[in-house]
Every structure is written in C-alpha cells, then in structure tokens.
Symmetry: C2
Subunit: 393 residues, 2 copies
Amino acid sequence: MEIKEKEILRELKKYRERDLKYEDGKILGSMCSKPHPISKKIVEMFLESNLGDPGLFPGTKELEGEVIKSIGNILNNKNPFGYIISGGTEANITAMRVIKKISRGKKGKDKDKKANIILPETAHFSFEKAKDMMDLNYISPPLDKNYIMDVKYLKDYIEDKREKHGIDGIVAIAGCTELGTIDNVLELSKIAKEHNIYIHVDAAFGGFVIPFLEERYRLENYNYEFDFSLENVFSITIDPHKMGLAPIPAGGIVFKDYSFKKYLDVEAPYLTDTYQATLIGTRTGIGVATTWALMKLLGSEGYREIVSKCMDNSYYLIKKMKEYGFEKVITPVLNIVTIKDEDPLRTSLMLRDMGWYVSMCRCVDALRIIVMPHINKEHIDNFIEALSQCKRD
Amino acid sequence: MEIKEKEILRELKKYRERDLKYEDGKILGSMCSKPHPISKKIVEMFLESNLGDPGLFPGTKELEGEVIKSIGNILNNKNPFGYIISGGTEANITAMRVIKKISRGKKGKDKDKKANIILPETAHFSFEKAKDMMDLNYISPPLDKNYIMDVKYLKDYIEDKREKHGIDGIVAIAGCTELGTIDNVLELSKIAKEHNIYIHVDAAFGGFVIPFLEERYRLENYNYEFDFSLENVFSITIDPHKMGLAPIPAGGIVFKDYSFKKYLDVEAPYLTDTYQATLIGTRTGIGVATTWALMKLLGSEGYREIVSKCMDNSYYLIKKMKEYGFEKVITPVLNIVTIKDEDPLRTSLMLRDMGWYVSMCRCVDALRIIVMPHINKEHIDNFIEALSQCKRD
C-alpha cells in the first residue's frame, strides 16, 4: 500500500507540474495569486472541519464569527453578519437571493414579477448565473467616461415616475473585474436612500485593496467610498482568496446585520443547526482559518504593504508601456492595468503561444493585466518585451 | 514575523481543539468522515490550483477529466460529462438548472411557467434552496411502506391526461439522507422513458456505496439499480467527500454526455475558457486531486472493504439495539440506521449533553445514525449505553 501511495503521489506531481506557477510571473489575467506561505501550515489542521454542520465544529465556527467581525471592521460595520464561502460567485448569488426575496415581499400579489436590478455593464459573469436561475431583470445604464455607471443617467431613470416603484436593487462594483474601476457608491447611496433601494457592492477584488490604498495612489475627484458607512449598502462581496492572499475556497459575503439572515434560511433538519443560510451546504473551515490567521499576521499594515507593492508595479507597467508605445485605457484605479489593442483576442492568443496568459476587456478593445502580488518588475520587463514582439510580428 | 506566526498557529490550534474529532466516534449524524490519510500529502501540492480558470492549470484539468471518467465507470457511463465541485448542494442545484432550462425550451411561449418536478418527501434540503431561487414546482408523491416514492401512485399521476405534459423532471434518491433508502429508479426509468421525462438521481451519499455493496448486504426484492444504464437517467450527484473519503470540498455532478453542457454555459470573457458551466467560479483542484488519488489507491476492492465494514457495523448496531430494546424503522438498506423514538428531539438533545451527536428523521419519529468509516464497534457499544441511560433518566 505504501509503495502504491508513493507511486500515486509521484504521478500526481507529474500532472501538477504541467500547471502554470504563479511565481513564474506568466499569469497576468487572474485575480487569484499564490496563497501566503502560512496557509500550508493551516490547511492540514482544518482539513476535517465542516462548517456546514457548525454544531460539530464549534471552535471553527467561532473563528468564522471573528473573521466576519474583522472583515466588518475594514468595511465600517460594527454588527456584520456573514460567512466565508466558496467565492465571489456564491457571494453575489447570495445577495441576489436576498434582493429577490425582499422584492417578492414588497410586490404582494404581483410576486411572480421579476425583480428589477440595476447592474453595471462591466459586472462579473456570476450575475449572469444568478439571472439564469432567478429570472432577474437587469437594467444596465451607460458607462460614463471613467467606465463606471453614469450616475446622472441612473438618477433620472429611477426618478422617472413610470420606473419609480420598480427598482429592487442596485449592484455597484468596487474593483471591477474588467478595469478595476469603482462605481460612485457615495452618489448611488443617496439615490438608493431616497427611493428605498437595496445596494449590493461587489468588492470581491477591491475589498482587500481599497481600504489599504494609500493616499498617494488615490486619483483626484474619484470616489473610493464603498462600504457600510454609506446608507442602503446592505451587502458586500469581499474575497479573502483574491487580494486577501488566502487559498481557495475563501470568498466572503457580509450583510449590514443579522436581520438579513431570514431571507436566506432554509430548514436543515439533519444538522446541529436548525436552519442553513449559506447557498452551499457542506463547506470546509480552511478558508475561515487561513483568513483569520492572515488578518492577524498581516494586519492593516501588512495589507497596505502588499497593496502598495502592487500599485507601484502597476505604475511601473504603465511607465514601461509608454516607453514601448502602448496606451492605457484609463489611469489605474486599483492594481489592474488596461492596454489598448485593436485586436485583443489575436494578441492574447499570440501571447499565450509565447507562454503569457493575459485576458481581455469586454467594454473596450483592450488587454487587461491584474498586477497581483506574484508579479514583480522583472516579470513586467519580460512581458513588455513579449508584447512588443507580438506587435512586430 | 516568525514568532508571530508561531503564536497564531498556536492560537488557531486552541480553537480547533474545541471541535469534535471523527475518531472519537461521537459524530453519529454526519455524512462526512475523516478524510483518507493520503489527502494530507496532496492538499499542499494542489493548494494554488484553480479549476475556475482551467487554461492556467492544464495538468489539474486533465486530472478532473480522468476522475469524471472513473466516476462514470462506476456509474455505467462511458461518455460522462461533469465536474468535481463544492458538494451535493451545488450538484443538485446544477441539475435543477438543467431541468429548468430544458423545460423552458419545451414550453415555448409559456416559458414563464414553473417547471414541475417530482421530488421525494425525503429529499435533501438542497432542493429547497434550488426552489427558493428557481421557482420550481415540486410534487411529492406519498411514500410507500419502504419509505421510498410510491411508484404506482406516481405512474397514475403522470398518466393522468391533465398532468401528462406538465412533468419536467423526476428526482430520485439513491441513499436518502434520512433513511438511506433507494428509490425504485428502475421503474421510474420506464415511466420517464415513456413520457420523455428527465431523471436526476441524488446519489450524493449512495454513489460511493451502492456500486460497492456486496451481495450479502442486499435485501431481497429491493431495487439497487440507479445509474446511467437506466434510460432517462441524465444526471447523477455523487460526492467523493462523503463515502469516497476525500476531504471537503469534493462533490460530483455527472451528466449522461457532453450535450448537457449547453444548458449551463455562461460566457466567461476574462478566463482562458470562453464559457463556464459550473455554478461556482473559482474552485480549488484539491478535490479533483484527492479523488483521483483515492480512486487509484483504493480501487473497487478498497471501497468494497470500506462499505462492508460500515455495513457490518450497521448490523452490529441493529443487534445491540435489539438487545437493549430499541426498535429500527426499517432494515438498513445502506449504512444508515434508524432508531424509533417517541420524542427524538428530546433524546437527541439529551445525548448531545452527554457528548453524542446524532440527528433526526423528518418523515418518521426516529433518530438516525450514519455508520461512517470513522465509527467502530466500541463506539457503538458506548453509544447504546448512553442511549439507554437517556431512557432510564
């Protein structure tokens, strides 16, 4: 058995070696990165834990409560309610479940009508999955010159009497997948407050960036506020397994308070808890434990350093682009850099043949580079060389 | 930093120590168990992998293909299509997405009508989550004397002309959460074939039990067939992280063939693949790698041994129950034992105070014990003593 075990591990390793490695710096289009080294020491400890049945794992459950409290802290919420779940998709679907349920409650006998939700054109495709299942009606206002939702248009749209009673939710993005932009949640909050509309903020990426973004990286006249200090922000997606450096699976959904649990609860007769509010049932405690450890170990100071390094590298990439004659779409808001390209699909496939994995924007003809913590200046130098070679060919 | 790291790991350990341990034999109501020891050696190797972006992890992706093929093999399917996902809930929701989509296609302009799905009363609560999101209409036929769906009733119901065109799917259970029963999928398949109805089998638990169940444990005149060899069985939930002994998260969804992918695909513009069919996006490759290794290491023979041990222990529990004057609800079909109890809630809370975690049935007044691989005869002896003490008090 032991020989067989060794043989299997050897075989597995061969497969694993064919995967890309973050440290090689060729993964330029992923919002995930190499997990912090402490993770490896925690995974084994929590391998058996199952937060789907929390009564059996009270220690791990308490850790989750503390993690949610810590995340609440960075999101300006003293009474957060939430979970560490599989990722941003589950988090966004969970928020859409709540909006749909609240909208049903309001509509009374019109309850079979679809929920109307304002959604940026640049929203992550997890919202398409939510729509596919929940028959939501998305309304996407035009983007303004900063590639965020046009607030003026939206205000007029919502105030139009015909539409007034029909908007059930607004999704705002804080760290857009495509460009790293941040919707003007401050202005959206005012509109939402006036018209009693639920705001969900998708800060899957930005949640572990914006709170740690030093003044010197902040653009003038740009709104970076996105958290629970703004009225009618009732839920936020924030993923430790993106810029929080936790291993997958560690997504986060946080609500303003416990009162939102009732929209999610399903009877769970076989478990130690009588109700279950998470979408996924059985779930490992690894995400909770690693996030807890990382937030203790790094603290605000540690995350600030990581974000600063990524921002410096983003500016370095912009500088190199300029030297080589490449143009940006926007000045980076967070550590996502866009490179204008007439035929981004062709370029990205050429780059892939050379071993570089970038991805593309949808709303504009451009490549997008996520300058994650695993990317350093040398990788950027090499990448720019490769990109420029594509253009010469 | 290193001192701080050690301190954090020490603190984490303290929390973890407050969790129950499978090896203590007190967890009697969970369908998860202690993962096989080889898992620990694999977790670290695949910690960084992300099957949500498979182009970056081609080695891990290939492993997934092989795992699905192996699982297809035990389910009598030479052309399986599927994924290793977060668990049974995601798998069941995924199947409901497909049924809803197919039903929409058929209904044409009546497409806003709810999909009608036959669902056993004893179905897992993940189907409630699916209903909550997808507005499904569940029809639950009465249970027969074996606590499975009454096939005769169902046949009449479906053949009733008024209902004939209205049934979009049948969910059958192979290893019911509550009692371990198996629906008569053989007969259901005939009905489904005749009326062109999609069958989804929830074998989250039974999938790694029934194919390895030796003849001597099989009840007379009981139908154990549940897999793709039966017509109109189009999808099966089968969880490696239950009786497959993989660590969480390792659930499985398998379809008859690739043609079902189109009902799930959502455009995924930022990733190396253009479409994504899984409900959850970012997902670790750990579940794939551990399942691959376990299926190689244990093989059919190994799983047969594990199942036999659990069945022997189930019968041992039944014998002890008889000695102590406790009655079963049904003769165990799989390694789940039911104990009749007038007030199961009270008894289970008393047991919990004594450190024993059992759970309850819904469809009958009874406790339920899942005789997982971590349970041995000594645990059973001690448990029966404790239960009998509850009754004396």
